[in-house]
C-alpha cells in the first residue's frame, strides 16, 4: 500500500516540537525536490524528539524513518532514494523496529505519530470510537464501574481515582453538569498533553464524550493554555469535524447522549492548572483558588457538578472502554495501574515520550531511554513532576516510577515529567528559582503561598551569602513546613518540595555541610 496509484506517502510531523526545529521547511523541501506524485501527511510526533524532524516514507515493508532531517539534507536524501526507502546515514530503518519505540507500551499514545491527527477516517481505521460505542451500549453506572475497576488515576499529578470522581458527579442531582478537561499543562518538563492534543485530538474528544455519558453531563470545556497555539488550532478543527460526523452534538452516534464541547484558552497564568483556579477562569474571573470543600464534583463550574480530569486521564478512557478494564489494570504496579506517559526533557541526549507501565525505575528512564545528558557531562540532578516536584540525585535512580514509592521518598511522580540537569547546575539557584516562581505565579489568595514564597527567596539568599547560616536554615525549614501545611492548594503546598529536596541532597551548593545544616 506504499505507492497506491504511483503516489508515494511521506510523513512529516506537524507537532510543534518538530516544527520548532524545521519540520515545515523539511515538508516544503520534500514537496519541491520529490519529482514524483507525493502524498505528504502531517502526522503527530512519534515522541523521539531528538530525531525531529523525523521523516517517514511508506514502503512495501512498512514505514522507514529518517532523522533528524534538516531542510538542507532533503536534496541529498531524495537523490539517494529516500522516497523508496533507500540507505543513507540518516536512515533509521523501520520506525516500529527502533528499540526506543519498540520497547514501550503505547496505550494512550497508540495513535500519536501514526495517524493523520485530523482525519476522521484514519481515526476510525485505527480503532477510534470503539470505546465510545461500547460505552453507549452500557448504562452510565456500568461505565463508571469499568473506570473504577481499571484503576485509572488522575494523570494531572494528584493521582485521584477517576472512577470515584465520576461516581460522585453521576450521583449528584442537577439538571446541568459539566465535563472539564484541564489542558493547562504549565509544568516545565511536561509536554504529553500538548502532543496528544496535536497528535490525536479525537481520542480526547472521545474520552470526554464517554465521561459525559457516565456522569450525565451535557456540556464540556477543554481549557488549553495560550502558550499552545498549535494544540488550540488542532483541537478546534477536530471538534468541528467531530460535529460533522455526529460524534458531538445532539444524539451522539444516534444514542441518547447529547454533548457539546468547547475550547477555552487560558491567559498565561500557571495557577490556572490548579482545578479550582481553572474553573474560576472558565467562569471569566481571576484565577483565584477556591477552598475545598465543596469539591468540584459537587459544586464545580458555575456551581454545578463537574468532572475535572487531565488530558491524559481522559485520553486513556477510550482504550479502557474498548479493551475492557482488565487489560488496563493488568499493567502497572501496586495501586499505580496502567501506563504513564513519561516525558524526558531538559539536558538529555534522547528526550521525548516514553509510555510504559508504572514501575520502571527512574534510572532506566534517564539512562537507558534518555542516554544521559545532551551536553555529555555527568547527570547531577533530575527534577520529577514539574516545578513543584523534588530534585533527586543519581543515587535515587533505583526508585520505581510509582505514586506511592515516590511519595515515600518525599518526591512525586506528578504529571510524569523528568527534567535532567548536568553537573554544572547550581542547586541553591534551582531552590531559589522554585520560590521565585511561586512568588510570581501565586494567585495571592492565601498568605503562606503569597508571602511565604517572597520570604523564601530572601532566606535562601541569606543562606547562600553566609549570613546567620544556621539560624536561616532553621527559618527556611520552618517556612517550608508552614507553606506545606498552611497553603490552600498545591502551588504553595508543594513549592517546598524542590527546595527541601535540593537542600537534602545537595547541601554543599548552599555553602554549608549537612552537619552545619542540622
Amino acid at each position: 500500500m506504499s505507492t497506491s496509484g504511483g503516489v508515494t506517502t511521506v510523513y512529516v510531523p506537524r507537532d510543534s516540537a518538530a516544527r520548532s526545529v524545521g519540520a515545515d521547511e523539511v515538508a516544503d523541501a520534500i514537496g519541491a525536490e520529490a519529482g514524483r506524485p507525493l502524498r505528504v501527511v502531517r502526522n503527530g510526533s512519534r515522541g523521539m524528539l531528538w530525531l525531529e524532524p523525523l521523516v517517514e516514507v511508506e514502503t512495501p515493508s512498512g514505514r522507514i524513518a529518517y532523522g533528524p532531517v534538516a531542510p538542507e539534507d532533503v536534496g541529498e536524501l531524495v537523490a539517494a532514494g529516500m522516497l523508496d526507502g533507500a540507505d543513507h546515514p540518516l536512515r533509521l530503518g523501520l520506525t516500529e523496529d527502533i528499540d526506543w519505540l519498540r520497547d514501550q507500551t503505547r496505550v494512550t499514545f497508540a495513535r500519536v505519530g501514526v495517524v493523520d491527527p485530523l482525519s476522521a477516517e484514519d481515526y476510525v481505521a485505527h480503532g477510534g470510537l470503539a470505546g465510545l460505542r461500547r460505552a453507549l451500549s452500557l448504562s452510565p453506572e456500568q461505565v463508571v464501574t469499568e473506570i473504577t475497576e481499571s484503576g485509572l488515576r488522575g494523570r494531572g499529578g494528584a493521582g485521584f481515582p477517576a472512577g470515584i470522581k465520576w461516581k460522585t458527579v453521576r450521583e449528584a442531582k442537577s439538571e446541568l453538569k459539566f465535563v472539564c478537561c484541564n489542558a493547562d499543562e504549565g509544568d516545565s518538563g511536561t509536554f504529553a498533553d500538548r502532543m496528544l492534543m496535536e497528535g490525536d485530538p479525537f481520542t480526547l474528544i472521545e474520552g470526554m464524550a464517554i465521561a459525559a455519558w457516565a456522569a450525565g453531563a451535557s456540556e464540556g470545556y477543554i481549557y488549553v493554555r495560550s502558550e499552545y497555539p498549535d494544540a488550540i488550532a488542532t483541537l478546534r478543527a477536530a471538534i468541528s469535524t467531530a460535529y460533522d460526523h455526529g460524534w458531538l452534538g445532539k444524539r451522539v452516534l444516534d444514542s441518547e447522549l447529547s454533548f457539546d464541547l468547547f475550547v477555552r484558552v487560558g491567559g498565561g497564568a500557571y495557577i490556572c492548572g490548579e482545578e479550582t483556579s481553572m474553573l474560576e477562569s472558565l467562569e471569566g474571573k481571576r484565577g483565584m483558588v477556591r477552598a475545598k470543600p465543596p469539591i468540584p464534583a459537587l459544586e464545580g463550574l458555575f456551581g454545578k457538578p463537574t468532572v475535572v480530569n487531565n488530558v491524559l486521564t481522559l485520553g486513556s478512557v477510550p482504550m479502557i472502554l474498548a479493551d475492557g478494564a482488565a487489560a488496563f489494570a493488568d499493567l502497572g504496579v501496586g495501586r499505580s495501574r496502567g501506563t504513564q506517559v513519561f516525558q524526558l526533557g531538559g539536558n538529555i541526549a534522547r528526550g521525548g515520550i516514553v509510555e510504559t507501565a508504572f514501575g520502571i525505575t527512574l534510572g532506566d528512564l534517564v539512562e537507558r531511554y534518555g542516554g544521559g545528558t545532551r551536553s555529555g557531562r555527568p547527570v547531577r540532578a533530575v527534577q520529577v513532576g514539574g516545578p513543584l516536584g523534588a530534585y533527586l540525585p543519581t543515587s535515587r535512580f533505583d526508585l520505581p516510577m510509582d505514586y506511592e514509592a515516590f511519595a515515600a521518598a518525599d518526591a512525586m511522580v506528578g504529571h510524569g515529567g523528568v527534567v535532567v540537569f548536568d553537573d554544572t547546575v547550581d542547586m541553591a539557584g534551582q531552590a531559589r528559582f522554585a520560590m521565585e516562581f511561586c512568588a510570581a505565579e501565586s494567585c495571592g489568595k492565601c498568605t503562606p503561598c503569597r508571602v511565604g514564597a517572597v520570604r523564601g527567596v530572601e532566606v535562601i539568599d541569606r543562606i547562600v551569602a553566609g549570613v546567620d547560616r544556621k539560624k536561616n536554615l532553621k527559618v527556611l525549614d520552618d517556612l517550608c513546613d508552614l507553606m506545606t501545611e498552611g497553603s490552600l492548594c498545591a502551588m504553595g503546598g508543594l513549592t517546598p518540595m524542590p527546595v527541601k529536596s535540593a537542600l537534602a541532597h545537595f547541601p554543599g551548593d548552599f555553602g554549608t555541610t549537612t552537619e552545619e545544616g542540622r
Binding site: 510543534s16 516545565s188 491567559g267 477562569s281 516525558q343 524526558l344 531538559g346 528526550g351 545532551r374 548536568d422
Partner: protein, 157 residues
C-alpha cells in the same frame, strides 16, 4: 468613513462582545478577541466591557491584570518570548535571556524605543526536550543557540 477613534473603539468592543453573547463566562474569550484585533486592551475598553457584561469596572480591571497575556499598552511590532523554566534552564536559557536583554537593550516586559520588539519571559512552551525555546509572534523555535537567537532577534528588529 471617518469616526473618532474612541467611537470606533467602542463599536469594535461592542461588536466583539456581541459575537460572544452565547458563551458562558465570556470575559476571557472576549479579552482574547480584543487582544487579537487590537494588540492590547485599551483602558478605555474597560467601562464598555463592564457595561456590556453587567460587571463592575473593578471586576474587568481585576481580570485583565491577573493574566500575563492581557496588556493595556500596545506591544512592539514583534513579540519575542524566551522560555525561562527549568527544562530550558538545563540547556542554557539563562545565557539566552542575558543575550536577548543585552542585544535589545531592554528588560523583560519592555519594548524597544523604536517600537520594533517587545521582549517577554515565559515559563514553559511545552518544548522541553528540544530546548532552549523561543517563541516569536506565536511561532516556536527549538534548540536555539546564542547565534540562532541573534538571527531571530535581527529578523524581528
Amino acid at each position: 468613513m471617518t469616526s473618532l477613534p474612541t467611537q470606533s473603539l467602542e463599536d469594535r468592543v461592542r461588536s466583539i462582545v456581541a459575537s460572544h453573547r452565547d458563551d458562558r463566562g465570556a470575559l476571557l474569550p472576549i479579552l482574547h478577541a480584543v487582544m487579537e484585533e487590537m494588540g492590547h486592551v485599551d483602558p478605555a475598553a474597560i467601562p464598555i466591557l463592564a457595561d456590556e457584561l453587567n460587571l463592575s469596572r473593578a471586576d474587568v480591571y481585576g481580570v485583565i491584570t491577573f493574566y500575563h497575556d492581557f496588556r493595556q499598552t500596545p506591544p512592539g511590532r514583534r513579540t519575542v518570548r524566551i522560555c525561562r523554566a527549568e527544562a530550558c534552564q538545563a540547556v542554557g536559557a539563562a545565557e539566552l535571556a542575558d543575550r536577548a536583554t543585552s542585544r535589545l537593550g531592554i528588560g523583560f516586559g519592555e519594548t524597544t524605543a523604536d517600537g520594533a520588539v517587545t521582549l517577554e519571559q515565559v515559563f514553559c512552551l511545552g518544548n522541553c526536550a528540544t530546548g532552549p525555546s523561543v517563541q516569536v509572534d506565536g511561532r516556536l523555535y527549538g534548540r536555539v543557540s546564542p547565534e540562532r537567537l541573534d538571527s531571530i532577534i535581527e529578523v524581528s528588529a
